[in-house]
């Protein structure tokens, strides 16, 4: 191996395989146009080609693939949600993630490290007991544990009672994992490209031609494309793209900020989350501490950073892990979260007969990438949402049939 590496480094020959095919001209017509080249859009393209034999598909992205929320989340996957529908859906996504490296032939660095959601109040203990029971009933590993067990799993945590919010217990989710998020976009894009899907980066959608309740063509910055069907998968910009298609959404776009510290020697195995303290932390394979908190306090379409976020996050983080006072922040960024009123996503059909939507992914979208992509591919191919995602339909808000997933959100919003 070292010899091969040396020869490759010193030699002039470079492999001629590319992750993506060379950029192509837009074709005048595609059977399916997918707006948004993030994880969800690319996964849907892959499953459309792989499972449904639909390969005349274009994925359009105004920037580059995986450059939005796919590359801005904190890479955590888990399935310990609160509603039956949510747990079933996220458990299916975790099941797909576990074998995805093999399927896509790319190292996604799937790392099962355990996930602890800390409780600091009686109310959160109660919600966690409820979550644990729902989870176990549906076959998801999830257990309410006390301080002794927390100390065994994560001795680094400050379990002292002499703090503002002592740790009373935790929801333990041993199968909680982290996944290298960029590689998910690259893996799906490469696999979809090999099956014939066209991926057009730097191609922004600026309008839709609509006739008789259906989209007949997509207007882009590179010209007009005729389309059979359209899938919108644009996360924080869902309201803007759907406005071009003539319908409104129950969504607010709010920034979510995150940061990483300078790299330090590995000391932290599990993912630690505190809903009451609005913070979460895990240590990456590079040794950086990946940290995030609650969404920003008001809606915005800007990925600017604020000092308020860092002050608020660190004040609480230092209570959990006081020795982090010595560690410096290295990098900070934000993504645009499309927040729904019930903290559950929107997947399925829209008021336009050949237009489909996957949105409302707020702060919980990355973990859903494979299941959302697979289910949306089926929804587009069959013109009918599969049973797994039927409860997440857009019309649930008008029918007053919401899902109520707020109790399972990682951190307060």
């Amino acid at each position: 191996m070292p010899l091969r590496l040396l020869r490759f480094g010193l030699g002039l020959a470079r492999p001629d395989t590319r992750i993506l095919p060379l950029p192509q001209e837009l074709k005048p017509h595609y059977d399916v146009v997918i707006v948004g080249g993030g994880g969800h859009g690319l996964a849907a393209a892959y499953y459309l080609a792989r499972q449904h034999g639909i390969t005349n598909v274009a994925v359009l992205d105004k920037g580059y693939i995986g450059g939005g929320n796919t590359g801005r989340n904190t890479a955590i996957v888990r399935s310990n949600y609160l509603t039956d529908d949510g747990v079933r859906f996220y458990a299916e996504s975790m099941r797909l993630y576990q074998t995805l490296s093999d399927e896509l032939d790319i190292n996604l660095m799937y790392s099962q490290r355990g996930h602890l959601t800390l409780a600091h109040t009686d109310a959160s203990i109660r919600t966690m007991r409820w979550r644990a029971e729902v989870n176990k009933h549906l076959g998801v590993a999830s257990e309410l544990i006390g301080p002794d067990e927390i100390a065994r799993i994560c001795p680094q945590l400050n379990l002292s009672r002499a703090v503002r919010y002592p740790i009373l217990g935790a929801l333990s989710h041993p199968v909680g994992a982290t996944v290298r998020h960029d590689a998910v976009a690259w893996g799906y894009a490469r696999a979809a490209g090999r099956l014939g899907v066209a991926i057009h980066q730097g191609t922004e959608v600026v309008g839709f031609a609509i006739e008789g309740g259906r989209i007949t063509a997509v207007e882009t910055t590179r010209g007009r494309i005729g389309c059979g069907k359209v899938l919108i998968a644009v996360a924080g910009r869902s309201s803007l793209v759907c406005d071009m298609a003539g319908f409104r959404l129950p969504i607010r776009t709010v920034p979510l900020q995150a940061c990483v510290s300078q790299p330090v020697k590995r000391f932290l195995d599990p993912i630690i989350v505190s809903g009451s303290l609005h913070c979460y932390i895990w240590q990456s394979q590079r040794g950086e501490l990946v940290m995030g908190g609650a969404t920003d306090p008001y809606p915005l379409y800007s990925t600017r950073s604020t000092l308020d976020f860092k002050e608020g996050l660190m004040a609480h983080m230092l209570e959990l892990l006081p020795f982090l006072g010595e560690v410096k922040i290295m990098r900070q960024w934000a993504g645009l979260s499309d927040m729904t009123p019930d903290f559950a996503p929107v997947m399925g059909k829209t008021p336009l007969s050949n237009c489909y939507l996957t949105a409302g992914w707020g702060t919980w979208g990355f973990k859903a990438t494979p299941a959302s992509g697979k289910a949306m591919a089926a929804c587009v191919a069959d013109d009918r949402p599969p049973e797994l995602i039927a409860p997440f339909r857009l019309d649930r808000f008008r029918e007053l049939d919401q899902l109520g997933e707020a109790g399972a959100a990682s951190v307060g919003h």
């Binding site: 803007l240 959404l249 607010r252 379409y301 000092l307 007053l400």
Partner: protein, 90 residues
């Protein structure tokens, strides 16, 4: 620290305020459940200048702020009366 110019309390740290969303006309009391669902859950969520209800929490003073959601700039703030006078609708 970001500053919000409050019509009652003057410029204050934005952490003292809470944003309560777009200024909109509520449906009539006897409107259909669908109209109420639309009012409660659906949003314009515009990228551009929005008009919103804000509240200064320590004084529970409610007012209206116009912000640009693309640039995070606060353009102006005024009381509910001024909104009526401007005739710009609720």
């Amino acid at each position: 620290m970001k500053i919000m110019p409050c019509p009652l309390n003057g410029p204050r740290n934005i952490q003292e305020f809470i944003c309560r969303g777009e200024v909109r006309i509520p449906p009539a009391a006897d409107a259909s459940a669908e109209a109420w669902a639309e009012y409660l859950f659906y949003r314009e969520n515009k990228a551009g200048i929005v008009r919103e209800w804000w509240c200064h929490l320590p004084t529970t003073f409610w007012f209206i702020a116009e912000r640009d959601t693309r640039t995070d700039e606060i353009i102006r703030t005024y009381t509910f009366d001024a909104l009526d006078e401007s005739g710009s609708g609720r």
